[in-house]
Symmetry: C2
């Protein structure tokens, strides 16, 4: 049936805006990334396994730099996906690095990332974390509360240092995205309110603090944002505060000159998603900042952004082996096929946590089968362990087939657990036809090593 | 104001149906568990830290045994909370053990749990897992699909063994609980449908399989269930299938004599919750099985149950240190206080994943303060990192205070992640005035040990 062939053809395709840049389906039906056949990776390293297209990751670093006009303007958000290797790639591409915890700072420093190019985030930085920031020479600390401001000033004083800081501002803009990952409205834990004046007051307090140097303002409108308007409006609002501070506090714009607009650039998880057009957004943002600065009669500040997902997300795929296939009846006379793979919510909590959707493909062969309403589920002892709720998959998928989800680079490994004592997947990088193990698979020995 | 004192008094209390059995607030205002002051544990082991009341855990094991009439009837579900120590306690109390993955089986065997008392679950057991079950002499394997049935028969044959099995039946009952953790309706991944006849057919296939011995039937109506009616109805339905199999296949009830009714016994997470009355449910279930067996003219089978949460959940608390306190405006003129603690969704994903609620208390001191609408949030770089969405907490909570969440024994540590490179908490057991470290805190060295 032509309808079937067409469905199969569609399933054999790899949507280029979702899959890594060097992924392709070869003539024998096998999917390769950077020339490495995925079934070879499964055979050598086992499944589930994350495969990172290193040149994809690096090229997205460079695209961001080009769009935003300089590598110092782009900070990779380590929380999205962090190993010392990835930190090294970010360093080699010249980007700055954002860390959101003491642990992330430690990993960055262990990877020899230059501290001066690190910005430290977090709503609840401990004294130890702040002390480490100052003592290691972290470039910027983004201040999130008055208590933290006082603490950092004291700690920097104890270390006879002056720490460069940004004040995190809540511009009061609600980006159109999933509730859980919206971060710019007022009723959330991060930052100082613009509307209430507390952001202004915090900036004043920084200027008055002997061991802090206010170098700029920070804001973040949300995550997985597809609407450029939110970034633009936030930039305008924060720039207005920036100008007010310059005027009222007589600040030196040689030192106070940074507008950090955060991250949140949406990527495509499925064929239907259209990723944010980054060069277009960058152009619009820069124009907006220029224009609004001109209106305010000031020099435009430097602009920084903090992509994590937009760099790491599309670079990586997760490959699984099919274990069981079972047809289940639901409602009257309807059948849904449950395809179980050898991973699940332990290596990808996003569908359960955020309702996230993913593009899944067979990667070990072509299919010319018709399709069946299917649900892709994991191996956990939990009914909610679902990776793809409803999709039409080829009816010939069977145990032993390799199914791969695209765009799993961001917030999959970084949020992964050991639920059901299933070890975290290995991470393999591919480049120029070569596969390289970055992180080995966790084992029961690793779990038991923590026991006393 | 008396209203304030009353709110404070309420906050000083520890609801006994939520907190561990040996938790109490001492005269100096400090909370102890099994005689060990929680602030001492914070000082020695740091925070966040899980504190297990060992005698609480053990006593709940014994309560279950007493309610269900024998230790062989009660299987502790390891997935809820598993370390080799906890497995040893379960063994010492005489209970059986349920494992849901190869990893859980490995940990159980490493703890020298007797294999004959282990039951193996899972919707997607690998060949390796099944082989390990047979070769180690696991008591029961619960079959979940036809593919698995064939696989296990083949593997048992290769090992010249006959494996005792149960068939997992979907009785078609929807327990009233949160959607994510309902597991007994038809449209889910586990088991064989009763209504469609596939459970019957699977049982027939077991009987016909040379290397499998059908010893009983299994079902599971859901998780965190408060309505005993679901268990009872499931028991009745599965018993009807049991009787039919005996009659039609002429089965020997010396061998085919087990009805495993799974877990799902709801516990109290907050003061408003009323935990399931386990002795009452046990009595009703046993009566129902007796009565229905009599109606069917058969001897009642042995009954097994699989509590995990009901044993582990209330035994354990998670203690955090307050880092920052910040008032945030929302809507017009309303204020919400954000209290940040030094953990979050990495050590307890349940509020974000299931909308779970928790009882939080100050444990280092009394309070006589009035109360403020508050939100308890974690330290992760994520707006959804919320442990308690809305609660009135004492207005005098400040950085350095110790806040503890009760009933965190089940599905907190077992689902914990390393998000933001925050190490998993330590686990400390308390008993008879002594604290003992069971699992040490994870560090960045542990993360980097996996790197190649």
């Amino acid at each position: 049936m032509s309808a079937h062939s067409s469905a199969a053809d569609e399933f054999n395709a790899l949507p280029p805006h979702v899959w890594p840049r060097h992924a392709r389906r070869e003539e024998d039906g096998v999917v390769t990334i950077a020339g490495v056949p995925l079934p070879d990776i499964a055979a050598e390293f086992g499944t589930p396994v994350l495969v990172v297209d290193e040149d994809d990751f690096r090229s997205r670093c460079r695209d961001m730099v080009q769009a935003f006009g300089g590598d110092q303007n782009v900070h990779y958000a380590a929380k999205a996906f962090m190993t010392t290797h990835l930190v090294t790639w970010v360093e080699e591409e010249g980007l700055n690095l954002d860390v959101a915890s003491h642990g992330e700072l430690d990993v960055a420093l262990r990877a020899d990332f230059p501290p001066a190019r690190i910005t430290a985030h977090g709503n609840n930085k401990s004294d130890d974390f702040l002390r480490r920031c100052v003592s290691s020479g972290v470039g910027h600390v983004v201040l999130d509360s008055n208590q933290e401001l006082e603490r950092l000033n004291r700690i920097a004083g104890e270390l006879s240092a002056v720490q460069d800081v940004l004040v995190r501002v809540k511009p009061g803009i609600e980006a159109h995205t999933h509730e859980f990952i919206a971060t710019s409205h007022e009723d959330q834990k991060f930052g100082f309110s613009l509307a209430s004046g507390s952001a202004y007051e915090a900036a004043v307090r920084c200027v008055e603090s002997e061991n802090l140097k206010l170098v700029g303002l920070h804001c973040h409108v949300g995550s997985q944002v597809f609407d450029a308007e939110g970034f633009s409006l936030a930039a305008e609002r924060v720039l207005t505060l920036y100008e007010r501070l310059i005027q009222e506090l007589d600040l030196d714009t040689e030192e106070f000159n940074l507008l950090d607009l955060g991250g949140g650039y949406g990527i495509a998880y499925t064929n239907d998603d259209r990723p944010l057009d980054v060069p277009k957004v960058a152009h619009a943002l820069r124009a907006k900042v220029q224009e609004h600065a001109q209106e305010l009669g000031i020099d435009p500040p430097m602009m920084a952004i903090e992509p994590g997902r937009a760099i790491a997300g599309p670079s990586t795929v997760t490959m699984y082996t099919v274990g069981t296939v079972k047809d289940v009846h639901y409602e009257d006379r309807k059948t849904r096929r449950y395809i179980s793979i050898d991973g699940g919510i332990s290596d990808n909590i996003r569908p359960a946590l955020y309702g996230a959707e993913y593009d899944a493909r067979l990667v070990n062969r072509f299919t010319d089968s018709d399709v069946t309403l299917s649900r892709l589920v994991g191996s956990h002892c939990e009914a909610g362990d679902i990776l793809v709720h409803n999709a039409y998959y080829p009816s010939d998928i069977e145990p032993g087939d390799l199914i791969t989800l695209a765009a799993t680079g961001a917030y999959c490994w970084s949020m992964s657990s050991r639920y059901n004592m299933m070890g975290r997947p290995a991470i393999v990088a591919v480049r120029g036809g070569q596969a390289r193990l970055l992180v080995r698979r966790e084992t029961v020995d690793d779990f038991l090593a923590l026991e006393v």
